[in-house]
Amino acid sequence: MIRLQLSLTTSIRRLNGFPVRLDIPLFLLTLLLCLLGLAVQFSAGGEDLDQLIRQAVRIVVAVAIMLALSTVPIEVLRRFSPPIYLVAVGLVILVLAIGFTGRGAQRWLDLGVFRFQPSELLKLAIPMMVAYVLTTTFFKIYRKTAFLVSGVLVLVPAILVYLQPDLGTALLIIAVGAAAIFFGGLSWRWVGISSFSVLALIPLVWPLLQDYQKTRVLTLFDPWSDPLGRGYHSIQSMIAIGSGGISGKGWLQGSQSQLDFLPERNTDFVFSVFAEEFGFVGGMILILIYSLLIARCLMIAYRCDYDFARIVVCSVAIMTFVHLFVNVGMVAGILPVVGLPLPLISYGGTSMVTVLAGIGLVMGAQYAKRTA
């Protein structure tokens, strides 16, 4: 007999003896986002059923991974953090080496059945590793060293990912790693110093960027300077969003999206399709759902009294948020086009697995407060 505990906090079900720690609010919110995603995909993909089914299969797989991860006790995950981190970094180096010999950029590892992007693994492995370092007994005493080591553990893989080259993911990794260090309790003095030095570094890093990356940033300030060339993406996306108005043009009715003006509308620019068809109201609802999801994660972190779990949970929340903020900011023309997908909604399985796996960790972590 399966006994369902429907409480608003955590319910533990036993499926064949495995406890599935299902957090009902998180579960419902993610499901809601996935369903909204399918609806937009159907419209953006030109009403292609095959494509929709492929995306649905990805959702099922990702949700299964989420539920599987939620069963792993957080203490076990903590112990496995260093090996997971090492494997993730090793794979990134491997991919880089393969790309090097093939004389070209490389992000993927082809495993036959599916392709796998090791840098995605880093998005979870890095906060786990930082949380691990900050909660070891040794580093609880030597705090300064601990934060220094954490910084290196974040920056080294970030540089490797940048070399792939994948600037978007590299920046995301730094953001998530920085969040983990922040939640690990870095003193305010050092938070200030490091934020300041990041700002100071910008003019130094600028010359290192590829030409096309520079023009992406410059286009942000004046997309109309080249409306048919470099500004095209941004302008078409803003037209799509703006023409949606308050209530939108209606599902499957977005002329910008349906008539091929909007590029990459399945993936990076999927929010524009959503905003064109469902308007400001729809956009607010979508942002509200994300906010609730992130708030729920932060709530779990707030109540949690196991350090490792808290840092990881917060980092997952920040990771989801950065994806959302950068993606929407990019399609709305306030951030440069760096190519981060909208979590759970953009077409493709990679970021979906990452985010749902992260939420699986959060669900599992919630249980930790009862034992720790």
């Binding site: 070209g104 950029a105 305010w188 023409s243 091929d260 900011g329």
Partner: protein
């Protein structure tokens, strides 16, 4: 409360929890702030500026369709087309206008032959493309097929004929390694190139000059502003911004000589480089076996591609710049300079047929079993005496040899326009320590003296080094691009480029060139057989590279000594005429038995060039004036 510094709070759980909870609240506030930025921006776009954007959207029946530029063509130095663009017709289907795909495919199948392969490829593309775009069903329609489709086109909505430019390599087998190929733009390429510039293009250079000169060849896209109806169908073109075609490239290659050299190598595996010494321009660069660039790059013959990629002979490898071989005895003239530079000079040594170091049990053998007797430096070059060069190497020492040989460019890239050229290896004590973590042994100094051991060169390096001798110290960068011509017809000549005049006393060139002449023209020269009937003087040097040094190795490797894979590689490098060099040739034939055996190939190529040159003397290169203060 936010001022908590972390270090002392760790022992106190309650404080710690406070700190963490504070952090969570701060983060939440921060995130809410950022979310309000997003909301503000969306409100601005969707409420404040809604009217403007709605108007734009309504007007947005004007679509921008990129028009890809015409890729620059590649010619040889005399203007013979090597890589050109040919118009091809493809049959395409726009899925949006098709109601019943299967019956349409059947109908098309009756008009033009469509293979199952085409159909499965089409369906794969159908799965990932937009329904409004034209998807190619069949490539390379013949004119008759185009006509047949055109007749029935109105009964088949959604079917269209797409005109496209296709890259054709007219002397493909002969030039594939130099000219290169195009290939599909993949995700990796998109990271390296500006996607805006490649909008509308499907191909990018993947090998050879097609890859190295991508920037020159590709041009800039234009775009048409196309008015569309409510269903996105094109009504008319409103305005055009014409694309800028890429520039044409004229290579330094002489296609006539290239073909001749290719044929001269016969069915052998090997490579050949010919350089015009007065300018450093490369006249011919051959690598065998070759491949058909028309098949490899853009063609659809997957099977043939696989054969090329997996073949044991590695046809895709450009042996002229990527094939690394021990130079064998061809290193000897270059080492001979060291004898003069260090003051050892033209001393006679005795060659009993073997050489032994004081503390070594191993005997180092001369190729001539009975030995050369007392022999001087010049005859040691002409007859390729190994013992002489063991002795010379022993006296010079590896450091000195490294220093002298590196002047001729051994161990470093030549700087030709092929970025994947190899640097070869010029061993030194540091090199061995670095790569193997072992000290240098004196025995290795000896075998380096006869071009065996760790030393590796490619044929371009060897031709380049020989050119330096031919030019008496003037080191010019080897060049493959003669000039580029942009779409306005403006020519950009790639001038010969002086790297340096190498630091060797110019008195030494004469004697050593004389010795190299003796290799060809002397009574006992190793390449004396090719001098028969020669109307000019040639300076050269043979080299023979042992693959398996002893018969014992052969037994161990379970190979018969008669097996061709065990035959030594033959190398020959030469220039002619010796007193006024017009061409330098370096050639390797893998398992070609010996340098003497393959020297006729070089002679044939030089004969061909010098004879045809006398006919067309005026069209040949602009010589490079050198002012030195010697």
């Amino acid at each position: 409360m936010f001022r908590l510094s972390s270090s002392e709070n760790y022992q106190v759980p309650i404080e710690r929890v406070r700190l963490m909870q504070n952090r969570v609240i701060i983060a939440a506030v921060f995130l809410i702030g950022l979310i309000f930025i997003l909301i503000g921006r969306l409100a601005y776009l969707q409420i404040v500026s809604h009217q403007d954007f709605a108007a734009l959207s309504k007007d947005n029946q004007v679509q921008v369709v990129p028009v890809p530029p015409v890729r620059g063509q590649i010619y040889d130095r005399n203007g013979t087309l090597l890589a050109g663009n040919e118009t091809v017709y493809r049959l395409a289907i726009t899925p949006r206008y098709v109601d019943d795909l299967e019956s349409l495919l059947e109908k098309i199948g009756k008009i033009v032959p469509v293979s199952d392969d085409d159909i499965s490829k089409f369906k794969r593309k159908l799965g990932v493309s937009n329904k409004h775009t034209e998807i190619v069903l069949k490539d390379f329609l013949s004119p008759e097929e185009v006509a047949r489709v055109a007749v029935d086109r109105y009964s088949m909505p959604g079917v269209s004929i797409v005109t496209d430019l296709h890259r054709v390599y007219s002397s493909s087998l002969y030039t594939s390694h130099v000219v290169g190929t195009l290939g599909q733009i993949d995700k990796q390429d998109l990271q390296k190139v500006d996607p805006v510039r490649y909008r509308g293009l499907q191909h990018v250079g993947k090998l050879g000059m097609e890859m190295e000169s991508e920037d020159i060849l590709v041009g800039f896209p234009g775009h048409n502003q196309v008015e569309t109806n409510a269903h996105g169908r094109k009504i008319r073109v409103l305005s055009r911004a014409m694309p800028t075609a890429g520039s044409d490239i004229y290579l330094t290659i002489d296609i006539d000589l290239q073909k001749f050299a290719y044929d001269a190598l016969g069915d052998e595996v090997g490579g050949l480089v010919a350089i015009e010494p007065s300018t450093g321009r490369i006249l011919a660069m051959v690598s065998k076996p070759s491949f058909d660039a028309n098949v490899f790059g853009i063609g659809w013959e997957q099977d043939e591609r696989k054969v090329l990629l997996t073949s044991e002979d590695k046809p895709l490898l450009n042996r002229a710049v990527q094939g690394q071989y021990p130079p064998g005895s061809t290193i000897k003239p270059f080492l001979a300079f060291s004898a003069f530079e260090t003051g050892i000079g033209n001393r006679k040594f005795h060659c009993p047929g073997w050489y032994q170091l004081p503390d070594y049990s191993r005997q180092f053998r001369c190729w001539k079993t009975g030995g050369h007797g007392y022999i001087d430096l010049f005859d040691a070059i002409a007859e390729s005496c190994d013992v002489y060069f063991y002795e010379l190497a022993h006296r010079l020492g590896i450091d000195e040899m490294y220093y002298q040989l590196s002047k001729f460019g051994f161990g470093s890239v030549t700087g030709v326009e092929l970025s994947y050229e190899t640097a070869g290896i010029l061993p030194s004590k540091e090199w061995k320590q670095w790569t193997k973590g072992e000290p240098w042994y004196e025995g290795e100094t000896l075998i380096t003296g006869i071009g065996q051991g760790a030393t590796l060169v490619n044929m371009l390096q060897l031709a380049h080094a020989t050119t330096i001798i031919a030019n008496r110290g003037v080191k010019l960068r080897p060049q493959l691009i003669h000039k580029t011509v942009d779409v306005q017809g403006q020519q950009y000549l790639h001038e010969p480029e002086l790297i340096e005049v190498i630091d060797v006393n110019e008195r030494f060139y004469g004697p050593i060139i004389k010795a190299m002449e003796k290799v060809v023209h002397g009574n006992r020269g190793t390449a004396r057989r090719i001098s028969e009937g020669m109307e000019y003087r040639m300076a050269g040097k043979t080299g023979t590279v042992q693959i398996v040094s002893r018969k014992k190795d052969a037994d161990r490797m379970d190979l018969k000594v008669t097996d061709k894979k065990l035959h030594p590689h033959g190398i020959f490098t030469a220039f002619a005429p010796a007193d006024n060099p017009k061409i330098v040739v370096a050639v390797i034939v893998e398992n070609g038995a010996s340098g003497s055996a393959i020297a006729p190939i070089a002679r044939a190529v030089i004969d061909h060039y010098l004879l045809s040159e006398s006919e067309t003397a005026n069209t040949k290169g602009d010589s490079f004036a050198i002012v030195t203060d010697h």
